[in-house]
Every structure is written in structure tokens, then in C-alpha cells.
Amino acid sequence: MSQLSITLLRMGFLVLLWALVLSAIAVLRADLYGTRVTARGRGRESRRDAEARAEKTASPSRAATGIRTGSISTREPSAGHLAVTGGPLKGTTIPLGGAPILVGRASTCTLVIDDDYCSAKHCRIYLEGDRWMVEDLGSTNGTFLGNQKVTDPVPFRTGDVVRIGATALELRG
């Protein structure tokens, strides 16, 4: 082979290598820019929201009630309370911040339930994006959302009821 064709092959290899890299990136394009985030209600509308909220501060704010929210992030909570609607702790409400809530018998949990059917670390309720999710932590007797047993994290919507032993938890706006 002539020197020219050798040089061409040598460069050709580099071109081929980059062709592979670039086409791999092209395949990923949909993934890299895949999710479109569209702003909704930006501008005037949200400002009106903020004003409306500012007016409401006449009613006792969450901080003023003296209940620790456990909130660490300053993210706006998308749901107000987690209410216990059944079981020994019936009537308890936990204000929701952005921090995850651990439910179980262990004293380190956010919501400690004294129930023989509840595991030490039973389930976890956490914020993903702007929706709450509930995840079972390998409990013995299971966590139920409605009638469905929770295995993978599932969305926990306002009004849904989660059952742990005799305890029922409800998300309220």
C-alpha cells in the first residue's frame, strides 16, 4: 500500500472512532434533552399567588404554632399535613416540610407507632420533585396504599390512605 493510503487509513480510524462516539451521543440526544420542563403560570399569575399568600399570614403560620416541621429544605411543601386517621395515634397530624418522614416502631422514626404489626423501620414517605411518595422499607407485615401492597415507591396523593397494621395515614392538603 502506498504511504498516502496508509495515512488515510490511519486518519480514517480516528474518524471512525469519533463517528461511533458522536452517533452514540446522537442516540442519547433524546435522553439528554428528553424531558421538557415547561413553566406554567409564570409572571403575573404567580405574583398574584404570592400576594394572596402574603395576605393569609394573618392566620397563625406553621412556625408560630410551635410544631417542629422537620423541614430542612426551603422548598414549598406541596401538601400540608399527614394525618393519622386510625389506630392508637388517631388524631395526630404531622405538618409536612420537604424532609422525608420515617414511620416505624424505632424511636429514631419521625412518626413512632406502637403497634405489634409495625416494623422498626416500616415505611418512608418522601418528596420526589413536587409529589409525595411512599416506599416500604422491607416491613414484615407490609404497607398498603388503598388495597394495594406497596413494594416499589408509589405516589401518595392527597386523600390517599396508607395502612400500617391498625394505623391509617392520610395526606391532606
Binding site: 421538557r36 406554567r40 430542612i72
Partner: protein, 447 residues
Amino acid sequence: MATVADVTVRTGRRSELGLLGLAVAVAVLARGLVDYHADFLELDELALYAAAWCGTALVIHLAIRRWAPFADPVLVPAVLALNGIGLAMIRRIDFAYANRGRDTDFGQVQEVWTLLGIVLALLVILLLRDYRLLRRFTYTAGVLGLIGLLLPLVPGLGKEINGAKIWISVLGRSLQPAEFAKIAFVVFFAGFLVTNRDTLALAGPKVLGMRFPRPRDMGPLALVWVAAMLVQIYERDLGTSLLLFGIFVAMLYVATERLSWVLVGLGMFGFGAVLAGTLFSHVQVRYTAWLHALDREVYSSGTSEQLVRGLFGMANGGLFGTGLGEGRPDLVPYAESDFIVASLGEELGLTGLMAILTLYVIIVQRAMRTAIGTRHGFGKLLAAGLGFAIALQVFIVVGGVTRVIPLTGLTTPFLAYGGSSMLANWMIIGLLLRLSDQARRPEEVAA
């Protein structure tokens, strides 16, 4: 408020086939160029090699279609391309050694390891139908990892090569159990952290606006740190201890989203590195060889000779390289394993080396994307941990060879000569394929 519009998931199996074609072309052209310059080119044999590659790629493709239809389409082509380049380079170094009267068969051995690695990855996909199964073996994996790490210290089984006790000899072959221990530790960390992350993230005093962990929650971190240090002391394996500790800190960060853990981890690492540098002569030698590589006395004492020869090789390659088969990578000791990056830098130049590094970036990005896409906490940690393991390993090796960090002995995934590394890394790819398959699978509509 903002709405996130999901784009419908395409399985991407056809794009995978196309990319596989390109990857096979890269591998075969590399081999052709190497053979031509060694005056060894026989078109029949090259055609056979090409056919073998096409067959392998097709088998992998069909297996994925059958058993992991939603798996990531880019992972396997990227890995196969790296593997093909590695095989060609090792063969090329065999030829160079033969010219100097040293008979080696690294290339052929590596081909066998590659095939075994692929079989292992397919077995992982076939046998592990649900990665969540691994969570049950959290502590088993932790113990296995520790045993793997300690095996080279067992008298009779362990083997010392060049001052590092990281090999064991099995059936006349030497294996590096640390490569497999790496995977076991990632599984252990993922299982451990998914249960304990809230305690680790939320409890503890706040200093300078950052929440620092409580001393009693530091237990596991301290334990891994001590284990990593002990490995470094007894086995003289800087790379592995750095890798393990780095993986753990990264996974802690992913699990807790607390920057304080990273700071604590980096602090502990810095302390350990300084301590090791002052206490142990072999670490000190590495530091000197790194900082004063081009000093006359350091070079002539031989400690930085390998590093500097590698640098000269890469400088000789320049922007476009000398061309495959046209350089002198064999002048660097261990050009086929530890210094394969320098060999590739010489013959493919900066352009080729950047393409190779981009392939690694793509693999790691896919792992991270899988972690984001998985909803299960364990899967997130597992994917992120495995991806980070590959990224950190590449950084440690390439950083060492290019004199960004002190040189430590680790293998370049998929490129360097070495059986354990090949098998372990293909296993990681098998796990990532399974994870991404489950992450990208459309949710089943509840009946």
C-alpha cells in the same frame, strides 16, 4: 409550578444494532492496521476475526432483545469498542515484544478473557431477573467483599508481584480478587445506605450552615476508611484503597444529599494520604516520582522512569498519533496493562485518546441516567455506585499515567491486559444492563 412532559421511551434496540456495527468496524479496522504494520496481515484471518466479532455482537444483541429488552442501547457498543481497541493494542504490543525477542501471548489470552467476560455479563442478565434480589444479600456481599480483599494475605494462596500483594493464584493463573470485591462492596453500600440514609442525613449538629453527622453514625465510614488504610498498608495497593473509599463517599453523598459527608470524606482521605506519605517509604517514593518526575536523580534512580517514558510516548503521538502499529509503545514497561493508556495516547494521539475517554464518559453517564430513572432507592444507589466505580477507576489510572495524581496500580477497564478486571467490569455492565432494563421498562398498567 412547572410541568415535566415525559417523552415516550423507545427501546432503542435498532440504534443499538447500528452502533454495534460501528463498534465492530472500529475493532476490526484496529486489528487490520496492527497486523499490516507488523507484516502479518492475512485477509482470510482478518475476515475470520471480523466474523467472530459480528457473531459476538449479534449474540449479545439478541440476548438483550430476549432477556432485557428495555436495557440501555449505548452501553454495549461503547464497551465493545473499548474492548476491541484494547485487544488490537495488546496484540500490537505482543508484536513489538516479539521484535525484541520477548515471546508473549497477551493478545490471545485477552481474547479468551473477553469472551468469558461477555458470557459472564449475559449470565448476569439471564440469572438476575430482578436486581432487587441483591438487596437480600447486603451483608453477605459485605463479608464476601472483605474476604476478597483479604484473600491475597492468605499464605500459600496469595502471590506477590512487584511488591504488591494483590494477587491470588488459582489454577496457575493469577487473579485480582479486589476487582470482584469492588462489586460486592457497591452492593453492600447500596443495601446499607438505603436503610440508614435518613439517620445519616438528618441527625447531627449544624456547623456553618451544614449538617454534620453524629459521631455514632460515622461508624460505617470510619470502618471503611480503616479497611481501606489497612489494604494500603498490608497489600501496598494504593489504587484499590483509593477506589473503595471514593466509591463509599460518593454513594454516601448520593444517599444523603449532604455535602458535609463529602467534606468529611475528603478530609479523612487527605489525612490518610499525608499520614501514609510520611509513614511508608513506598508511598513516599510514589509522591516523589509524581512531583519530581523529570528530575535527573529521580529519573536515573528508576522510580519515575516508567512514568516519564509514558509521557515521552504520548508527546511523540501528538495530536493525531503515530498511527496504530507505527509507534514504539513497547519502550514503556507494562505497556500492555498499567500503561495501555500511554500506548494508546502514542499511537492514536490526543484525538484518539479523547474519543476513548468520551466512550467512558458515555458509559458513566448511562449509569447515572439509570440511577435517575430507577424509582427504587436501592437501584439508584447501585447504579450510581457502579457508574462511579468505573469513572473513578478510569480517573485514577489515566490521572496517574498523565501525572495529574500519583501513579497507582489499577487496570483501565476493558482496555488493559488482565483477566480479573475484564470479568469484573463485564459483570458491572451486566448489572447496569439489568438495572437500566428495569428503569426504562414502562410501568405495567395495574389490572
